[in-house]
Subunit: 81 residues, 2 copies
C-alpha cells in the first residue's frame, strides 16, 4: 500500500475566487489582520500494491482529471509506503 | 508577516462525496489501482504584523467560518514568519 498526496494550487496571477470570498467574509466577522489567502486542494490517494510507480500514476491522474493546467499548478509527494 | 496553514479534512466515517466521485471517474479512465481517496482543503493565510498570535487567530477563523465541526477535523500549523 503506497500513499501519495497531490497538492493543487492556483498559478500565480490567477484569481482565486474562494479565497477572495473568504477574505471578505472574515473581514466582515472582524478578522481584519489577514493580508492574503490562498486555497490549496489536496488528494490523499492510497494505491494497491500492484501499482509499481505510484508517483508517476498520480501524475497521470492529475493531468488527466484533477488539474487544469491553464489555472493550476500541482505537486505530487509520496506520503508513505 | 506570519504565514499559517489551516488544513481541513473530513472526520473518519463521514462520507467524502468529492473523493467518491473522483475515484469512480478515475476508474472509468482506467486508473483501477486506487484503494482510497481523501480530499483535504487547505488555506494558506498571511497575517499582517499587528496580529500577535496568528495560530490562535487562525483557530478562531476556522471555528467561526471555515470548519463544520459535525463533519470536519482541522489542524493549524505555522508555515513561516
Amino acid at each position: 500500500m503506497s500513499r501519495v498526496r497531490i497538492e493543487i494550487k492556483y498559478l500565480k496571477g490567477v484569481e482565486d475566487p474562494e479565497a477572495l470570498t473568504i477574505k471578505k467574509n472574515l473581514s466582515i466577522l472582524g478578522f481584519t489582520g489577514v493580508s492574503s489567502i490562498n486555497t490549496v486542494r489536496s488528494y490523499e490517494i492510497e494505491f494497491s500494491d500492484d501499482v509499481r510507480d505510484p508517483v508517476a500514476e498520480a501524475r497521470k491522474m492529475a493531468e488527466k482529471l484533477l488539474v487544469n493546467p491553464v489555472i493550476h499548478d500541482y505537486e505530487v509527494t509520496l506520503a508513505g509506503e
